[in-house]
């Protein structure tokens, strides 16, 4: 008879350790270094190389469930656009994205009152329909978004002057937590209308979106998760919540790796004990 397996650790101890392991570095900041990666630099350079007064779409395709990951990068990107005098048109394929964008804009505006609604920024609100809506935007933008989120006709905003389709935009950037999101923007905006697309995604979806960063430039760079947000904050020299969260992220990863190692050691021991028992 095989020997009894080693008793598994009650997982609640692991939960507690992880909780403390994440909380402590947030209180006692270590300040680990952050290195930038190629994909983040590509996104940063796209904004840097966009001429002032150009118009871009930032699409907020996420909800509070992904806020800790995507909000910091969206904030850094919007701030970067305003710093470069780039006009920001906000859309949302997720209904709660509208509120996410508003939170960021009001925060930026409270520090920089020169940024004006309707001139430097407009929030066109949410539209359902995902890929079909994006395709329709490429043909008849003003029909899809006849009004902004306040119900004001877009004809009244200087920022919307001359916007008929994607040709009038320098690039589209989607902060995406899933479907509909960045994939649909790539499929339509780049692959049909040939306009540059960039964006940020949650860590969960990053591996499946990365194939679009290729020689065809279906995606121009990609911000993947909190680490990329911290890199973007570093590049734009505006440290935020992503930077302050990186210490905790590092410690948490280390805890998970240590537990993977312990799990494997236990497995080997059990296997050896089983063999001896036989």
């Amino acid at each position: 008879m095989a020997t009894a397996k080693r008793k598994q650790l009650d997982r609640r101890w692991l939960f507690l350790l992880l909780f403390v392991g994440v909380a402590l570095p947030l209180i006692f900041v270590i300040g680990f270094p952050i290195e930038t990666t190629e994909n983040v630099r590509m996104v940063y350079n796209l904004v840097e190389n966009t001429p002032p007064n150009s118009k871009v779409i930032l699409s907020f395709d996420y909800d509070p469930g992904s806020k800790p990951e995507l909000h910091p990068m969206a904030k850094a990107m919007m701030q970067h656009c305003f710093d470069r005098d780039i006009k920001v048109i906000v859309t949302a394929l997720w209904p709660m994205g509208v509120q996410m964008a508003e939170e960021i804009f009001s925060d930026i505006q409270s520090k920089n009152p020169d940024v004006k609604y309707g001139i430097d920024y407009v929030n066109l609100g949410f539209k359902s329909g995902g890929i079909v809506t994006i395709q329709s935007m490429g043909k008849q933008f003003r029909e899809v978004f006849p009004e902004d989120m306040n119900g004001t006709s877009i004809d009244e905003f200087p920022i919307m002057d001359g916007i008929k389709n994607f040709d009038n935009l320098s690039f589209v950037c989607s902060f995406s937590a899933g479907d509909p999101g960045i994939k649909q923007w790539v499929q339509v905006t780049h692959d049909k209308f040939n306009r540059p697309v960039t964006g940020g995604v949650t860590g969960v979806s990053a591996p499946s979106i990365l194939p679009y960063v290729n020689a065809q430039q279906q995606l121009t760079g990609l911000l993947a998760g909190l680490k990329a947000a911290a890199e973007y904050e570093l590049l734009s020299k505006v440290p935020g919540t992503a930077t302050s969260g990186m210490d905790a992220q590092s410690i948490a990863h280390l805890i998970i790796i240590i537990f993977i190692v312990i799990g494997n050691i236990n497995f080997r021991r059990d296997k050896k004990a089983e063999k001896r028992g036989e």
Binding site: L14, F32, S66, M96, V144, S250, H253, I255, I260, G263
Partner: protein
């Protein structure tokens, strides 16, 4: 009529949209543009249908006193409160039937609809997803065991990516000389993501893409009819 007309609609709409890609002029361009606008409106009604259906399902659970039925009362109450707040006082920027809700917004700091979103919904949603941090750590401890070549590859890739994606990776191998920088953990992680990961994900993408193309054609040609339901 109950099945044939929907099949004809699907066929015509699908074919028009495919034709419009190659002949974007009249009448195809015009029709496809109009169909896309219709889709947006019908999709809106579909969302409303989803929410009403949720209400109906929960009502049934309460009526027939299914297990834990008391909790479903809360679902209906919170749904109704959110909808009524939105309709009565509107959202942050939209007026409701009681006007713009300026007085209540001044008292509460936000309109009731936005107050509930910011102070209740937002936290519930973020916390619900953050629970997964604990379960993924527990799953890694219990299930990430090196047994075969495949599992070894999986394990190695996961650990290298996890290390490379934090500052820990930079510290551990930051001392390497320039000639050995390709062994620097963040670079290894970047390499894995850029090449072997992209290769695997691209294979999945191409496979899934071919599957979607096949399914779309089957639907347009009326071979696949399951979306019409029974009878």
């Amino acid at each position: 009529m109950k099945r044939k007309i929907p099949l004809i609609i699907t066929f015509v709409v699908g074919v028009v949209l495919i034709f419009a890609e190659f002949i974007p002029h009249k009448p195809f361009g015009l029709i496809s543009g109009e169909l896309e606008k219709w889709y947006l409106i019908i999709a809106g009604f579909a969302i409303i249908l989803g929410q009403l259906n949720l209400f109906k399902v929960n009502l049934f659970k309460i009526r027939y006193k299914q297990q834990n039925w008391q909790y479903f009362i809360l679902t209906l109450v919170s749904f109704s409160v959110m909808v009524l707040c939105g309709i009565f006082w509107g959202t942050q920027n939209n007026p409701g039937v009681f006007g713009n809700g300026a007085a209540i917004a001044t008292a509460m700091g936000d309109k009731p609809f936005d107050y509930l979103f910011l102070n209740v919904y937002q936290h519930l949603s973020a916390t619900m997803f953050s629970l997964l941090a604990f379960f993924i750590a527990s799953a890694a401890y219990r299930a990430f065991i090196a047994r075969t070549t495949e599992s070894n590859l999986l394990l190695a890739a996961a650990i290298l990516v996890m290390l490379g994606n934090t500052s820990m990776g930079s510290i551990l191998t930051g001392w390497l000389p320039e000639s050995l920088k390709f062994l620097h953990l963040p670079r290894i992680s970047e390499f894995i993501m850029k090449y072997p990961n992209t290769a695997g994900q691209r294979a999945i993408m191409i496979g899934a893409g071919l599957g979607i193309i096949g399914s779309s054609l089957r639907i347009i040609l009326g071979i696949e009819r399951s979306y019409l339901g029974g009878k």
